[in-house]
């Protein structure tokens, strides 16, 4: 009988050539056939077959040190650090940094006023509470954009989307389910508004054409002629936007 082996995870430190030390997640996966090093907004990950030795993994990391440094730079979140109560002074929104003030109150919430953002927290508010409040705030802002844009496109669609949900998506920006539900990445609210609107239009056009055929792109072109600029913007800034949200939500 074949013995089931589960995925094992740990992490190793790796010193980069510029002196920085990064944490690499090491995953032993029974399905892995070779060593694989990849980087996404969650950081660097080394996947190894169960029988590969730790030494071979270390050697593989050393050999690809320069490549790793280059990829990590692409995902760098710039000045954005994890949310720290009382310390974080600004939060990104619609490709801008808005000043943030902290205050104490009866319940935890983040809202906007004329001078920027105000994070009201209770004395016992934990990380999860702050993260939830931030997420709720971003979803409210995203829905405000949605409420402004969506009605404009409804008239030329065969049917409206069943509902629109905002999720933290790892690689996609949006999707349309077979039941006509649209899912959009919450980090779109951190991108420039035109890029966000393009993703919405893209998903709505899938109600007309459920593929990426020429006919589909014609529908996009009719509704959003500047879509190529937005696609290019995502190629340059997309990973950073996703990494920023992930960093802030913790």
């Amino acid at each position: 009988m074949q013995r089931f082996r589960s995925i094992e995870r740990d992490s190793v430190e790796l010193a980069l050539s510029d002196g920085r030390t990064v944490l690499v997640t090491r995953v032993r996966d029974p399905r892995a056939r070779r060593l694989k090093l990849c980087v996404d907004e969650r950081g660097a990950r080394l996947t190894m077959p169960p029988r590969a030795s730790a030494v071979s993994g270390k050697r593989f990391l050393d050999d690809n040190r320069e490549w790793l440094a280059m990829q990590l730079a692409r995902y760098a979140t710039g000045s954005v650090l994890p949310l720290r109560p009382g310390a974080t002074e600004a939060l990104p929104l619609r490709a801008q940094l808005l000043p943030l003030r902290w205050s104490e109150g009866r319940y935890t919430r983040l809202h906007r006023d004329d001078d920027g953002l105000v994070f009201t927290i209770t004395a016992r508010a934990g990380e999860a509470t702050l993260s939830r409040a931030l997420r709720d705030f971003y979803e409210g802002e995203a829905r405000a954009d949605l409420g402004r844009w969506l009605p404009r496109y409804l008239a030329t669609l065969p049917r409206p989307p069943r509902r629109v949900r905002f999720k933290v998506m790892s690689s996609q920006w949006g999707s349309l389910a077979p039941d006509d539900s649209v899912a959009l990445d919450l980090s779109l609210v951190l991108a420039r508004p035109s890029a966000f609107e393009y993703v919405l239009v893209h998903e709505l056009c899938h109600l007309l054409q459920p593929d990426h055929s020429r006919a589909f792109w014609r529908e996009v072109e009719d509704r959003f002629p500047g879509w190529r600029d937005e696609r290019d913007w995502f190629h340059v800034h997309g990973r950073q936007v996703k990494a920023t949200l992930r960093t802030l939500l913790g």
Binding site: R106, R124, R148, P161
Partner: protein, 301 residues
């Protein structure tokens, strides 16, 4: 005809619904056929034997989606199938294969379906043409979407969207319970559900509880947020508003219902008409309060 739950959708008030009655008539409920599992369509709101598929008072239109569903429990089919399979095994000396099982099951369903009970159902809805709101008397998203789908089929196009709140409903509800000013005419009820911010975190459900008290304050302080909150509007209606923007336990209170009892009406139709008028008025007032409080998006280009 008072609604017990409200699932709301928005559509553009400029939508042309002048031929609504004739369109609904073309999508009327047909009796479920002997070999059909279910059937859905519009029925007259005053009852299946009455006339008119819609009833309009002012800017409110009352319509009703009826359904007929054949009840054929899976357990009954499986039980008979097992008996037939056992008999076949005894005769042939071997266990019937998958294909035979499938065929036998289909035969059984065809045999049992015409004899199955038919369960009738109805879901009422109100179109508020002034605000561009469709209120469906259900807390089930699926059932509400069936009503929207039925309207879309009847009208050809009905671009209605679920409510879109431009502020997190959870934050608004939590603010109200924590002492933020409530919208005019709204007071807190005695029921709420508090949830921890962490996924799969603690859930506290309170009933007959003083919501402005210290006990609730402690939960808020630890970071819990309000997921459902009982509210009363103008002493006319009470309801539980959820973070999913569904209004549950909707009830017309004595303060509003008194107006109905003070007048004598001749027949059932007049009674239902009076109730609908009251319900539509309360719904219109309720939405005009909730719309700015929850910053509900309009659906106008």
């Amino acid at each position: 005809m008072f609604f017990r739950n409200l699932t709301l959708f928005r559509f553009s008030p400029s939508l042309d619904l002048s031929d609504l009655e004739s369109r609904l008539a073309t999508a009327a409920l047909k009796p479920v056929g002997p070999m059909e599992l279910s059937s859905r369509g519009f029925i007259p709101p005053f009852g299946r034997d009455s006339e008119g598929f819609s009833h309009q008072v002012g800017k409110a239109v009352w319509l009703s989606v009826g359904s007929e569903e054949r009840l054929l429990p899976g357990a009954v089919v499986n039980d008979l199938l097992q008996k037939k399979l056992a008999e076949l095994e005894r005769k042939e000396g071997r266990r019937p294969g998958g294909r035979t099982r499938k065929r036998l099951k289909e035969d059984l369903v065809q045999e049992l379906l015409p004899r199955a009970f038919v369960r009738p159902g109805r879901t009422d809805a109100i179109l508020d043409l002034g605000h561009g709101v469709l209120a469906v008397d259900t807390a089930s998203r699926r059932q509400a979407e069936h009503v929207v789908g039925a309207l879309r089929d009847a009208l050809g196009s009905f671009p209605a969207l679920p409510l879109n709140a431009e502020v997190a409903p959870r934050a608004v509800l939590t603010g109200w319970i924590a002492g933020d000013p409530l919208p005019e005419g709204v007071v807190l009820g005695d029921e709420c559900e508090l949830r921890d911010a962490a996924d799969k975190g603690a859930v506290v459900k309170c009933q007959r509880q003083e919501l402005a008290g210290e006990e609730i304050g402690k939960h808020l302080e630890s970071g819990k947020q309000v997921a459902r909150l009982a509210l009363t509007l103008d002493d006319h209606v009470s309801f539980v508003l959820g973070e999913d923007l569904v209004l549950r336990k909707f009830r017309i209170l004595d303060g509003a219902a008194d107006a109905l009892e003070s007048t004598e009406r001749e027949d059932l139709r007049a009674e239902l008409d009076a109730r609908f008028t009251l319900m539509a008025g309360e719904l219109e007032r309720l939405f005009s309060v909730l719309e700015p409080a929850l910053r509900l998006s309009k659906v106008e280009a």
